[in-house]
Symmetry: C2
Subunit: 446 residues, 2 copies
């Protein structure tokens, strides 16, 4: 016996899933997995425990991130262990391990839980679930189109209308080139890094703060500052490149090919061919990670009340290099359960799922409980879900309780029913009553 009572709260920043919330999670996970499988993606998984070196390998900056923002601890074998903060390093590890056996291109998905050591504050969770979809082993543009079309179709399968969300795409390599190249913005590596960081924060900043930040990076060159700010409204890669190279001394000949923005251009065309029209070019899409090497994209809620990106992803063509061997190209996205649920709630797309059994067998006396279970067993064999109310409540209370729990039918079981072999089930919504042998009732209810 404890001296004082233990608290009943979960650990800070994580969630308990009572049946109602669990039903929502399962609904979301089911639509995710059914859609991914309809595109031929196979599900995989791994443990939440990973060697810490998997995240530290990319250098000192990463090591700091791992130490500060992840759950990392030392086990008794003196191994450093991390609770995975993202799935991509894990899947890269798994792909690299079986590179010789896998038949590329590989289409995989997973719905892992991920951990981040966030400072505990309202709405900031330390654990969340995330759909991860990836194609490995091809750098065809069609793969980029497909992965974006898969995310798009998943939205439709949740009942979303294309007007409720918008796809914004950019290209990490193109951005790198246009920021640094002499024919475009001609920035130093340091300026370019700062400008990417500023651009990444654009949606969180006030317009004037963003512009002041840009002016600070471009220095005295107010013309370029303005070019940059206006460039963010260019509707497609070609006009973006034309716009920002208008003052170049020797404009490059095929700017789309030269910068790599041909990819984004072809992807936009491909998506439109598939009837996906809520997609725009957006040169301010950066994505936080360093590992993107091609197209990057984010999906946004069009509801102004919900301005965060709903999901994001991109192409990374060197992800397995840490494990040695030839690089394996990949493209994928991650989509969190919390942002999805926000989106579904904002647009009234979430209908409550019922977790109750279809039929409740209610014995009139506890002495009939086992007889009730025998009957439940027989009904269950026809595929229906059945529970038995084995409590000591009076029969009226049992019926009320079943109704409160959204049970559809109740079967009151007394000595008479057992003796006669004739039973009645009552529909708790309509009040309609059906009578007959168990066989007859099952036939009508299934």
């Amino acid at each position: 016996m404890a001296d004082k009572n233990l608290p009943t709260e979960p650990y800070k920043g994580v969630r308990d899933f009572y049946p109602d919330d669990m039903a929502v999670q399962r609904y979301m996970f089911d639509v995710w997995s059914q859609t991914a499988e309809s595109f031929g993606y196979a599900r995989y998984d791994a443990s939440v425990l990973e060697p810490a070196e998997l995240y530290k390998a990319k250098g000192a900056e990463n090591e700091e991130l791992v130490n500060e923002q992840t759950y990392t601890f030392t086990d008794r074998g003196d191994r450093q262990v991390t609770l995975r903060p993202e799935m991509t390093p894990t899947v890269a590890r798994m792909i690299a391990a079986k590179r010789k056996e896998l038949a590329f291109p590989v289409r995989w998905y997973s719905i892992p839980n991920l951990f981040r050591y966030e400072r505990a504050q309202r709405g900031r969770l330390r654990e969340h679930w995330q759909l991860n979809c990836d194609i490995f082993g091809t750098d065809e543009r069609a793969a980029d189109v497909e992965i974006i079309a898969l995310a798009y179709q998943t939205f439709l399968n949740f009942g979303a209308d294309p007007s409720m969300f918008e796809i914004r795409i950019n290209d990490a390599a193109g951005m790198q080139t246009t920021f640094s190249d002499a024919n475009f913005f001609d920035l130093s590596a340091e300026q370019s890094r700062r400008l990417r960081k500023l651009t990444d924060q654009r949606r969180k900043l006030k317009v004037e703060d963003f512009e002041v930040g840009a002016a600070d990076i471009f220095g005295a060159d107010t013309h370029k500052t303005n070019l940059f700010i206006k460039s963010l409204d260019c509707p497609d890669p070609a006009s973006y490149l034309a716009w920002i190279s208008q003052n170049a001394q020797n404009p490059v000949e095929n700017p789309l090919e030269y910068t790599g923005y041909i990819n984004a251009s072809e992807i936009l065309d491909g998506l439109r061919t598939l009837g996906i029209t809520n997609v725009v070019f957006d040169p301010s899409i950066v994505r936080g990670f360093d590992y993107y090497t091609g197209v990057v994209f984010e999906f946004f809620d069009t509801d102004p009340a919900n301005r965060r990106a709903l999901l994001g992803g991109g192409r990374y063509d060197n992800l397995t290099e840490l494990f040695g061997g030839e690089p394996i190209p990949g493209i994928g996205f991650g989509w969190g359960d919390v942002t999805l649920r926000d989106f579904l709630e904002t647009h009234n797309l979430l209908t409550a799922d019922i977790t109750a059994p279809t039929i409740m067998v209610a014995p009139t006396d506890p002495s009939l409980n086992i007889a009730g279970q025998k009957i439940a067993q027989e009904i269950r064999a026809s595929g229906l879900s059945v529970a038995v109310d084995i409590s000591n409540r009076k029969i009226g209370k049992k019926i009320t309780a079943a109704s409160d729990a959204f049970v559809e039918y109740v079967l009151v079981l007394g000595e008479d029913e057992i003796a006669s072999g004739t039973y009645s089930v009552k529909n708790l919504t309509t009040g309609e009553q059906l009578s007959g042998t168990l066989e007859e009732l099952c036939e009508q209810l299934v």
Copy 2:
């Protein structure tokens, strides 16, 4: 770029789930959840992270266990955190938190992953998944019968025959009484504790070692030693009690009621009423945990090659006491994924699940990839799973690859098909070919 290559192995003692293994996991989890839901159980979940105090609260012995056998670490807020080693404390916490709102009896299930800090050795895993089913808020015997019947039905739903497994039941309270009471074995508290421990290990010991251990506990009383050893073969609680009390000076009047073994007796009767006949009374079933207060049970594989318990559980009527308030009775069981998979493999009950899409669209040239995706999109709308082979392979290789991946149909897409709007799909097993518009094909394939 890393100096040396990272290893591709997972962390020691945990598993990667590649699609083939993941398909097995999902099959097992699906049968688990479908069966639990057919009995009216609602699914819940929680985070793997729990406050360490949840496991330490039961005293010093527990604290040692927590420190030595669990993953416990201190977070940066100086909180001690444990990766849950079992689900029962978590569900007790959740039930206690909502005790005022929940409509008891509550039927819940979950499939959590659990962590144990095992010394790394062959076959010893540090993470496994476990089906947990519980009923809270009733101490009716019918609940005990139901939870055992649920586990039994789950075996049948995996395709098992009752001859493949055996249910063994005992009663923790009855065992306590018969070991200590003057009318039965009349052991001291310390002797009783040692005898429970020895009995718990019975299946792992050689017969002679078990008997030497028992003799050591009973001391000079060889008659009692023999009584005890023979008692383990008694086929039901009544004959067990009659056997071990045969030398009592004043035999108790209603030994089943007196010892509490009436429960086990009624449960055996209840199960047999439900047609469950592979159940036996076994006074040597102990279960490791201290918290059982009534019936305890284990399911065993009848294959002598696989002697470990497949699942186990029991009644605990004081589990929420650590959280204050009136105690809430409960009964439940836990069933691990590893022992289940062993069982299914031993009895040839596992048929490989296919993770491939139904149809592969194979464009004759990469320039037709987007057109292929358009066609895949249209077929998918009819509910079929479709992938597009966007690789650079020749068409013959694409068909071979699809066949190797167990794809059912391939649709070869060239300029002619697009121009005519007439397509052919080939069944890769039978060689049969179907032709027609997409609409016509979908009608035939769905």
